[in-house]
């Protein structure tokens, strides 16, 4: 399965076409195809998962001690045996550790150390896509830890979203279309996570963008929805330029290579100059900003809530926004060297993440739309991930991605369930729903606890690891400032999520009609996700709390070990579990919840503060206006560009282009007139008239011959025959 992992994205891709072609004729309008395809992909992903575990275990046992050759080709015997497919164009590349002295060099490396980690070769397979000159562009699959992890997350969340959608969008006029694009969305994301080359990554990246555009604008009849879709697409375009620039720089810097492993290896062993890596990283960060909703290109993400809720869940949990995070983790060698993550104490990636943590959380306070609260929460949580990558806590970032996918999907689907019941996303029209919607309420509460980071829910473990990473990794002084940012962010998260839960599920019902619990196809996915939101954190228990075969399993199986990953660099380390941080962050979470409850039950006298306090009012207005980013883009940048550019273009239009056009027109008229009098009238007409009169006079001559007398014809016939006969005799 690892070598044939290409099947996994192909299944939903095929399903996309089948649904488009035949979906409407099927009894369930194509949804069964989508569910079946993603279900099959999920099963295969699980198989791949199990085989990956075996692969890692085997790699450890087979590994000879000490230093060894850098290339081990085709060593994965059990895989080849299991698959019985020996495609000639494939190979298994071994990226082994370049030298000894790896692992627990940093003082803060985890005590279990990396020594037991042998080099784990990624399972790759590639086909030539096209060639230009000497360079071959390849597509293929690159299966290693993070790819396998993402396969599971994407297929699982997508499967649950599919099941959920069969109820949620039932009766929609573009039901079939919706499922078709859900399939394509899943397929593109799966293709992205197993991209072999940067080129393939870029193609899948764009496909994901297109699918998000289509799905956000699913109800495009309303202008706001189609605007949101356009905004998402165009904002992503801005970042995509960064991606293209980054890929091109890396292509040339790495000696004309799109190969991700190759680029990473070269970046880490000094094959690419630091400047090139720095520029490429900065360009790629722009791509991350747009795709993963980081400040300052985050503005599309909350607007993307215009799409159907299952799409929001898919975008926010599994497919779209984590693409940016995943891209960074994929090209981590580039970022590591380019931004000197291991030795500095501040860098652009961490800064972007840190700003986003606080900025996103701040905006979540003033939203009344439940989905927008969750959207800003996602922005903030993605900030955590980017920040973690920025401080060098690679595993923590991916671990947070992993846990976040489950509880955020649960929250989104929960909000969808609520709106399904009260027909609104406005929290002012909710309230008291825990009585009517017990399942939704419980799952939402569990997911909220996970998001806030309360022990022992999933978010606690991953967020804690990020905070520990910020406080322990990096050069002199560490990334401590980001630890503070993370803790403040955790406080804010607790507060706004308390507000959200309180407004939705507590107090009196303020809406219309009678809310009711949703059906099983909505509730069951919610519960599955909620349970995962509880237990997913146990995947990476720190060694301080566990030992042996249960500690740090996530890190053990999913963190790549090899020349293409910074784990070969001495500075690369893992944060150690810290009781201090764990206790502080849990306390902070509880304080946040307490403040939130106090605020909204009126026990803390902050109610009406915006009326009393000038500063608070300014702050509130700023938040409501989303830090004026939309104004900046629309009024200042767009309008500012539009005005002068429009005037300039108008001038050019009037004077240059019109001049050229007019001149061309006049020239054409003059030429036409000359051609008319000289060529047309004299040459052409002369020829036509001449041929006509020639035909006429010829006809006058020949008409004498056609006398109508048979005998004359006969005479001519025999005369001619006699002439020919005479000529025949003379000549032969």
């Amino acid at each position: 399965m690892l070598r044939n992992a290409w099947i996994i994205p192909v299944i939903p891709a095929v399903s996309f076409f089948l649904i488009l072609l035949f979906g409407k004729r099927l009894p369930r309008k194509g949804s069964e195809l989508g569910v079946a395809a993603v279900g099959a992909a999920f099963v295969l992903a699980v198989v791949a998962q199990v085989q990956w575990f075996q692969h890692v275990n085997d790699a450890e046992h087979d590994e000879p001690t000490g230093e060894h050759a850098a290339q081990v080709v085709g060593s994965s015997g059990e895989l080849a045996g299991g698959e019985a497919v020996a495609a000639t164009e494939t190979e298994t590349r071994g990226f082994t550790r370049a030298g000894g002295g790896v692992g627990a060099v940093g003082a803060e490396a985890s005590p279990q150390a990396d020594d037991e980690h042998a080099s784990i070769e990624p399972v790759t397979r590639e086909w030539t896509w096209f060639e230009f000159g000497e360079t071959e562009a390849e597509v293929g699959t690159l299966i290693d830890g993070p790819a396998v992890m993402m396969l599971i997350v994407v297929t699982l969340v997508s499967l649950l979203v599919h099941v959920y959608s069969t109820d949620y969008v039932a009766g929609d006029r573009r039901y079939t279309h919706f499922f078709a694009f859900l399939s394509l969305f899943t397929a593109s994301m799966l293709g992205l996570v197993m991209s072999r080359s940067t080129l393939q990554l870029m193609v899948c990246w764009e496909l994901v963008g297109v699918c998000s555009f289509v799905l956000i604008g699913h109800w495009w009849e309303e202008k706001a929805n189609s605007d949101a879709a356009l905004k998402a697409f165009i904002t992503n375009r801005v970042g995509d330029i960064g991606l293209i620039v980054g890929v091109i720089i890396l292509f040339f810097a790495a000696g004309q290579s799109f190969d991700i492993l190759d680029i990473n290896t070269q970046a880490l062993n000094g094959g690419i100059s630091h400047t090139a890596l720095l520029v490429a990283s900065c360009a790629l960060i722009a791509a991350v900003m747009s795709k993963s909703g980081q400040f300052i290109l985050h503005t599309w993400l909350p607007d993307a809530m215009a799409g159907p809720t299952p799409v929001s869940a898919l975008i926010h949990a599994a497919t779209m926004v984590v693409a940016g995070i995943y891209m960074v983790s994929r090209l981590y060698g580039v970022f590591w060297e380019g931004l000197s993550i291991g030795v500095s104490s501040i860098n652009l990636l961490a800064l972007v993440g840190g700003v986003t943590v606080l900025g996103g959380a701040g905006l979540a306070f003033v939203q009344n739309d439940i989905k927008r609260v969750l959207a800003y929460s996602t922005v903030s949580q993605l900030g955590y991930m980017v920040m973690a990558l920025g401080v060098g806590a690679w595993t923590a970032a991916l671990f947070h991605l992993f846990t976040h996918a489950f509880f955020k999907a649960c929250l989104f689907l929960g909000s969808g369930s609520v709106s399904h019941s009260v027909h609104s996303f406005d929290m002012r029209e909710m309230g008291g729903l825990r009585k009517w919607m017990p399942h939704t309420y419980r799952t939402f509460l569990i997911a909220t606890a996970a998001l806030i980071g309360i022990f022992p829910f999933a978010g606690f473990w991953s967020k804690d690891e990020i905070l520990a990473g910020a406080s322990q990794l990096g050069g002199a002084g560490n990334y401590r400032v980001f630890m503070v940012v993370g803790i403040v962010g955790a406080l804010m998260t607790a507060m706004y999520m308390t507000r959200c839960v309180y407004l939705t599920f507590f107090g009196e019902f303020r809406g219309h009609g009678h809310p009711h619990e949703s059906g099983p196809r909505i509730v069951v996915p919610l519960w599955i996700l909620a349970i995962l939101g509880v237990v997913a954190g146990l995947a990476n228990l720190p060694s301080a709390l566990a030992s042996g075969s249960v500690e740090l399993r996530f890190e053990h199986y999913y963190e790549p070990v090899g020349a293409y990953f910074p784990s070969i660099v001495p500075e690369f380390a893992h944060p150690e579990f810290s009781w201090g941080i764990a206790i502080v962050s849990t306390l902070i979470a509880f304080i946040g919840v307490g403040i939130g409850i106090g605020w909204y039950t009126g026990r803390i006298g902050l109610r009406g503060i915006t009326e009393r306090n000038e500063l608070a009012r300014v702050g509130y207005t700023t938040l409501v206006n989303k830090y004026y980013f939309d104004h900046l883009y629309t009024d200042v940048i767009a309008a500012g560009t539009k005005g002068p550019v429009a005037r300039g273009v108008n001038w050019v239009n009037q004077n240059v282009i019109d001049g050229v056009v007019d001149g061309a027109g006049r020239l054409a008229t003059a030429t036409g007139r000359w051609v008319y009098t000289h060529v047309d009238q004299q040459v052409v007409d002369g020829a036509v008239n001449g041929s006509a009169s020639a035909a006429q006079s010829g006809g006058q001559v020949f008409r004498q011959l056609t006398s109508g007398k048979v005998q004359q014809y006969g005479a001519l016939l025999f005369g001619a025959a006699a002439l020919f006969a005479g000529a025949f005799i003379v000549l032969v």
């Binding site: 020949f702 008409r703 011959l705 056609t706 006398s707 109508g708 007398k709 048979v710 005998q711 006969g714 005479a715 025999f718």
Partner: protein, 102 residues
């Protein structure tokens, strides 16, 4: 058949052919023209038979038979046309039949 006999038969055919051509071109009576055409055809028949005999080949004779059959049909059609022309114009003078003049 020796060369002398061959030449005599060919000469006969040529004479007949010439008479026929003269008749076709010069006679005004349509029936006479038709008869002249028969002369031409028979001149050709003599040629066919002569060369067939000279080469000891039966094909010449067979071809002559075909020509006789075709000639019979042609005379049938021709006489019918002459009859109709006569009924319409009370005449069989070919000079008067020139409605196809250009």
């Amino acid at each position: 058949m020796d060369d002398l006999m061959l030449n005599q038969f060919l000469l006969l055919a040529a004479i007949l052919f010439s008479i026929g051509v003269y008749g076709v071109i010069a006679r005004k009576n349509t029936v006479m023209v038709l008869m002249s055409i028969e002369l031409i055809l028979n001149a050709v028949n003599i040629n066919l038979l002569t060369f067939g005999a000279a080469n000891r080949d039966v094909a010449g004779a067979v071809f002559a038979l075909f020509v006789i059959a075709v000639a019979a049909a042609e005379v049938g059609v021709g006489l019918a046309m002459v009859l109709i022309i006569y009924r319409n114009r009370q005449s069989v003078d070919l000079d008067e039949v020139d409605s196809m003049r250009g």
